[in-house]
């Protein structure tokens, strides 16, 4: 296989006595949707924070297009074409939706008008066109998730890191958001997503990494991964896979 767009090589992160991420290695191929799943506290968000430059790994290296980007600050990574969203949405609450997205668009545009124009186009893509002039603070959870996505997209990334953009959405909102993400991928943007909503992971991702207790448990196609006994046990506890098999529920 060719050099992956993003390569994480033996990365660990220690917070005092807690080893949050333990010697994780993974590769993200360009043009695909890669999902990162795992139970709460597995270290997914910490891993994301390191890839996006918000945290520096205790050990290990991270490579983007073959270049070492370990410890490079987030704003530089954004300029390299790596954008991220936050699990806990962080809108610029005092600004309108339009102004929020324009901040992202400013990355490659100095002029205010150009940034606002580009922002309006991105808003169309993620379904925020109707809400452009609303204050960001007035958005619903679903709206805020879309805003996170729109701002990141406006930076025109090559690699998009999505941290639980589907969490907290109701079934209708979920059904509306999945095609939006697919449309982004179809524009040639490589996506890495942390996601708990398995139904969405199954339909979107081409490759899945399972993280549990800080290390990679397994990886593969979504179908292979959800059938893996270790994955089931990581979520449901030891022996769960056998009990499920006995009850005849295994192999989705």
């Amino acid at each position: 296989m060719a050099e992956p767009l993003l390569r994480v090589d033996g990365v660990s992160k220690r917070f005092g006595g807690l080893l949050a991420v333990d010697n994780v290695s993974l590769g993200v191929q360009a043009g695909r949707i890669t999902a990162l799943i795992g139970p709460n506290g597995a270290g997914k968000t910490t891993l994301f924070a390191m890839i996006s430059g918000f945290l520096t790994p205790s050990s290990g290296r991270i490579y983007h297009r073959g270049e070492d980007i370990t410890g490079v600050p987030p704003y530089r990574l954004a300029r390299r074409g790596i954008a991220r969203t936050f699990q806990i949405v962080r809108p610029f609450a005092g600004l309108t939706v339009h102004e929020n997205i324009a901040i992202g668009a400013h990355l490659s545009r100095r002029s205010r008008e150009a940034a606002l124009d580009a922002a309006a186009q991105v808003a169309h893509l993620v379904g925020l066109a109707e809400l452009l002039d609303k204050p960001a603070a007035s958005l619903t959870v679903a709206g805020r998730k879309r805003l996170e996505l729109a701002r990141a997209l406006a930076t025109e990334p090559k690699l998009l890191l999505l941290d639980e953009v589907l969490a907290g959405l109701n079934p209708t909102e979920l059904a509306a958001m999945v095609p939006t993400i697919r449309a982004i991928a179809e524009r040639g943007i490589t996506i890495v997503m942390i996601e708990h909503v398995m139904q969405a992971v199954m339909s979107l991702a081409q490759h899945v990494y399972v993280l549990a207790e800080g290390h990679i448990l397994t990886d593969g196609s979504p179908q292979a991964v959800v059938g893996d006994a270790r994955v089931i046990e990581a979520y449901l506890g030891r022996g769960a896979a056998a009990r499920l098999a006995a009850a005849g529920v295994a192999h989705v």
Partner: protein, 327 residues
């Protein structure tokens, strides 16, 4: 352009005041209010737009004032040149304090305390260093010639301070409309989000602090020329740090006209207090404190915010009740 037009109208109206009245009391009041507006505008850029609350704008004001005064008194430098150097010196102090505090990631109350500490350190140094005249202060020799930036009448001073305020209004207005300004507001709203979107937040804050300090320093330079005397307590005293933040917060932090509006209101209240209560020392400060509490509690976006709200209410009311045809 429409935004600059409103500045032109306000400045033109204020510029006409000396044509209407020759009263020294009125002019003196306006000069002092405009001085507060100028220093407040400096604070507003960093605090109002950037969300970095400085408690130590005296550091820049005082540096401007001392640079102007010392260059003239000790080195015989021309006052106009001294004025320009004073602004540059204030900007440099802003850049240094900004680099030290932002690079070490100081935020919120820590940043406020550090700026206060820097201003206090400068005040103490100025009160003992021989070059500043130590405890005696520095007196600029009376030399009533325009070349020496001194005037017989208050009117030229009034126009100069108004000109400085006008420039500061235009600067802030143009920043508001630029990528730099958008980034500054973004990092105020959420610094992590701004970083993730490619904003070098340290550099943006540093830029804002440097311009902010230059504007405050211009106020200090003007003060020295207008009153011809400064000492450590005046130049680096907390009073100016307080006025610098009081005016924009009362008027509307993060708005172009907030500092001017706030300065006029605050200074009017101060003068009214003096009229009613006589010259009780410190009473105006008590009034300032009360105004600040009221504003923070009931109108956190200042007078400008109240006006905006009132206008929106009015617009909403009008759209609710369309004009009834009279028959």
């Amino acid at each position: 352009m429409r935004a600059l037009a409103s500045i032109a109208v306000v400045v033109a109206l204020l510029a006409a005041v000396p044509l209407v009245t020759a009263s020294n009391v009125v002019l003196n009041f306006l000069v002092v209010a405009l001085l507060t507006a100028l220093v407040g505008q400096g604070w507003n850029l960093l605090g109002g737009y950037g969300g970095q609350y400085s408690f130590g704008h005296a550091a820049f004001f005082g540096t401007g004032a001392y640079a102007t005064a010392i260059l003239q008194v000790r080195y015989g430098v021309n006052a106009w040149l001294g004025f320009a150097v004073g602004i540059a010196a204030g900007a440099a102090v802003g850049a240094i304090i900004g680099a030290l505090s932002f690079r070490s990631g100081l935020k919120g109350s820590y940043f406020a305390l550090v700026t206060l500490a820097f201003a206090e350190v400068l005040r103490i140094i100025a009160s003992v260093a021989p070059i500043t005249g130590a405890g005696v202060g520095t007196l600029i020799k009376l030399d009533l010639r325009p070349e020496a930036l001194q005037f017989q009448s208050r009117v030229p001073f009034y126009w100069i301070i108004l000109g400085l305020v006008a420039v500061s209004l235009v600067i802030v207005r143009m920043i508001e409309d630029s990528r730099f300004g958008a980034y500054l507001v973004a990092l105020r709203e959420n610094e992590d989000s701004a970083k993730a979107l490619g904003v070098n937040t340290t550099l943006i804050k540093l830029g804002a602090m440097t311009v902010s300090a230059a504007i405050a320093a211009a106020g200090g330079c003007f003060y020295a020329q207008y009153f011809l005397f400064i000492d450590a307590g005046i130049a680096y005293g907390p009073w100016i740090s307080i006025e610098a933040l009081l005016a924009p917060i009362v008027g509307g932090a993060g708005t172009v006209f907030g500092p001017l509006l706030g300065a006029l209101v605050v200074k009017t209240l101060g003068e009214a207090t003096k009229l009613v209560a006589g010259d009780a020392p410190g009473l105006d400060l008590v009034i300032y404190g009360c105004v600040l509490i009221l504003i923070v509690a009931f109108a956190p976006s200042g007078i400008a915010g109240l006006l905006l709200k009132a206008r929106q209410r009015f617009a909403a009311l009008k759209s609710l009740r369309p004009e009834q045809p009279h028959g």
